[in-house]
Symmetry: C2
Subunit: 86 residues, 2 copies
Amino acid sequence: MEWKIVGVIAAVCTTSGFIPQIIRGIRTKRLDDVSPVMYLLFIFGISLWLSYGVYLEDKIIIVANAVTLAFSVFILVLRYKYMKQR
Amino acid sequence: MEWKIVGVIAAVCTTSGFIPQIIRGIRTKRLDDVSPVMYLLFIFGISLWLSYGVYLEDKIIIVANAVTLAFSVFILVLRYKYMKQR
């Protein structure tokens, strides 16, 4: 079994998992129930994963975490945008 | 610089990130804005990360993902519990 493929599929799932959250937020214009503390911890943690990936020179870790970081920041920004609009 | 520590702190942040989401859900008894598709993708992806950790025999990956998996399942269960109660 090629375990690297398992890692790639795992990374794709946990990274792309944020896409349905973004779509849901844009559709309902509401992200109130989403915890901002969760996303702040994520942004901090994922930044560390990213730097860890740079240190390891592991492209999978770098790309997966760079994309996840962008998604997390976007969700947090959307949340405050929609809260402000009401 | 001890890069293993960076990895541990990163894992602690991304795993414990789910705790404020659980606390928020229990407090507001509402998780409607949280995307169920996101959590389903997470549960699948984290299960793969867990098996990858078992293959690598890496305790940090195993523990972090086992805890994250439990948190993700719990959030999804809470979401449906609160939706059903209304």
